[in-house]
Amino acid sequence: MIVAAHNMTSPRTTGGGYACFWGDFLVISCPSGGVSCIFRDGSTLYGFIFHRPETQLFGYSTDYLMEYLKMKLFYSTGLYALILAAGAAQSQTADLTTNDPTQIAAECGGDAGRGVALFEQNCAQCHDITPSTQSKSGPNLHGVVGRTMGSLPDYPYSAALRAGADAGTLWDQQNLHKYLMDPAGYLAGTTMQFDGFANPQDMFDILTYIRTASLPPAPERGSVTVPAEMAAIVGDVAYGEYLAGECMACHSTEPQDTGLPAIHGWDDTDFMIALLEYKLRARDNAPMQMVAQALNNEEIAALAAYFGALD
């Protein structure tokens, strides 16, 4: 079969599109998540055009596209199958070490909020997800994404999963996708009593939830203190002035809150604690968390020194 990859990109897409022939089928996908499938039955051409622009699909190989089409094309009247297959585009690999819920959601293509409810409905009867090694009828799923198959010491895995464990196969996102869409198809001999998801978006949402639920908890606001080595830094006011350029785009020099808090004239320690709390996600607010995570201890100290010296 011929596989041709076309980069049908628009600015800031996360993957290219594929056009591939599979036997007499021509499947064309584009980064928006849309897919067209044209096939010939005898002398008649049939075409589907389906767009789900909000679906984001990551991490599929061409092999998976083909496998998936074989499994699903004739057995699903839903065009979701084609959408899923269309996701087999080159795309950024997931960073399984990230602690950023927004990045996780982007990598998994799902919504953790929807995932909680779906997990309750589909998984929670058998799987625990709290951080412990207690398993119910299914193994505990806390931290499963990125973990080796069959790795919990106390759980009686099936032979199929133990084989995966021996081979060192990881539950990375690709493998989990295949397993969750068709458990018995992907891992023959699995004892998980589940037929697979009909709607791939549900599966993405659940994975997003599982990854997010596996994050270490953020500290309580008010419990964060300035580490000793950071308290010892003498903040460089000139450096703080340079860094403050970024702050001034939003925070004005007004002494009172404007809809955004005033940041002039704070006590140095309070200022550093506030930024640390954003950095550790003890305080909510996505832009401030992003800003704080890009600052190291010296930079936070410099900013504290600069703003503290102003009226």
Partner: protein
């Protein structure tokens, strides 16, 4: 004292800390900034402020009052009055010693390093900063040109056009049609057209509830699409229809006399037609010879033009990498350019370039959303490092807080630009 460039390159690192004057013979080094928007005004202010008077800054801007494009949609929606988005240059002139010249730049002589203004003045420069925003591409929407912009406003350069569009909406017949011809990528303010649709819908819901909004869009997807669509369904259900490229959104022409929009040959009569044409860098960039295609390529480390090291380009006019064309981005880039210019002209310390952007959009009263990212400069481009975006299904308190943040940001950025 005029330092020979070869001598400078041979100097040790220690002497780099000593200020040196790279001026044409005498006096303070000169910086000319063309364009007094989010990029230019910020750059002028930061250079003047941080050089503590060591650099002579001239800001060339035709408008005496700057109407911010950002929040102009809120004015159209009735959330702001016009004067609240208007800003003068008086503080830049009086508190920062910036020579504000209300004129147009009509020529740049890169060899002589001078700018010629429409009024005849010739301004010499040691470094030039271009921040002219965008101009529209002629013929990109057949039937539309500057000659027809009174019948079919773009309102994509704020001020009179914003007033015009608002007045047209107010004159619509009950049950009439507001059409928007949306632009192709890349264009300034990616969520802008869709915030505008939200603001128009808000206004129509109160004043003309049976009216309809038709978006004709050459693009498949747009910024914060899921969020806007959720909001439109929630607040304005049934009022807004969007025709994308699959159904002719990329094959559009207009007739300003007849007030019709033709979509793939099918003609629709409309009452208001907001045409937002395809865009390119403000024309002064092309005239300066520093564009490649429609935009001016720059190095992210300093915002220097890749075609002339004495010219920096900011904001919408640039081709720089991952940052969107937004006022926030222009303001962020201006500071990097200001630091680089001061370093080059006075030997001041230059730190590694960091950038950020946040775009807030208002969908309805107290329903604000945002998207943002941080960036750093690589040799190839300005590259995104990290980002965030609002989520569908967020609770009302968070959306209200997001809107209030944007109000705070507006106060912050306009002080940052105009002093």
């Amino acid at each position: 004292m005029k330092l020979n460039r070869r001598l400078f390159l041979g100097a040790t690192a220690a002497t780099l800390a000593a200020p040196y004057v790279n001026a044409a013979g005498h006096g303070r080094p000169k910086v000319v900034v063309i364009g007094g928007g989010a990029g230019g005004a910020t750059a002028a202010r930061y250079i003047a402020k941080d050089s503590k008077g060591e650099i002579d800054v001239t800001l060339v801007e035709p408008s005496r009052s700057y109407y911010t494009c950002f929040f102009s949609n809120l004015y159209i929606g009735g959330f702001r009055d016009l004067s609240s988005i208007a800003h003068s240059y008086g503080t830049l002139a009086s508190q920062y010693g910036i020579n504000v010249v209300h004129d147009w730049a009509v020529g740049i002589d890169r060899d002589a390093k001078s700018v010629t203004l429409a009024g005849g003045t010739v301004l010499p420069y040691d470094r030039l900063i271009l921040s002219p925003g965008i101009d529209f591409i002629d013929g990109s929407v057949p039937g539309w040109s500057t000659a027809t912009q009174n019948a079919m406003p773009h309102a994509y350069k704020a001020g009179s056009q914003s007033e015009l569009l608002k007045a047209q909406i107010e004159s619509m017949p009950q049950g009439g049609v507001f059409a928007m011809v949306a632009p192709p990528n890349p264009y300034r303010c990616p969520p802008g057209p869709y915030e505008r649709v939200s603001m128009v819908a808000h206004k129509l819901k109160n004043e003309n509830p049976t009216a309809k909004i038709l978006i004709v869009d050459p693009k498949e997807k747009f910024s914060k699409q899921g969020l806007f669509e959720e909001g439109w369904q929630k607040h304005y259900g049934g009022m807004i229809e969007r025709i994308g490229p699959d159904f002719g959104g990329n094959n559009v022409s207009v007739d300003a006399g007849a007030m019709t929009v033709s979509i793939d040959g099918s003609v629709e009569k409309v009452d208001v037609c907001n045409v937002i044409p395809a865009m390119k860098a403000g024309r002064i960039c092309e005239m300066a010879g520093i564009t490649e295609g429609n935009w001016a390529p720059v190095s992210g480390h300093t915002m220097q033009s890749r075609l002339d090291e004495n010219i920096h380009v900011l904001g919408d006019a640039t081709n720089q990498g991952d940052m969107p064309k937004s006022g926030f981005s222009a303001n962020s880039q201006a500071k990097v350019a200001a630091m680089a210019v001061r370093g080059a002209l006075t030997g001041s310390k230059v730190f590694p370039a960091k950038f950020s952007n946040t775009c807030w959009s208002l969908i309805d009263t107290n329903d604000g959303i945002k998207v943002g990212a941080s960036y750093q400069a690589t040799d190839e481009k300005i590259a995104k490092v990290d980002g965030f975006v609002s989520q569908t299904g967020e609770d009302a308190d968070l959306r209200k807080a997001t809107y209030e943040e944007s109000v705070g940001w507006y106060a912050g950025i306009t002080s940052d630009m105009f002093g």
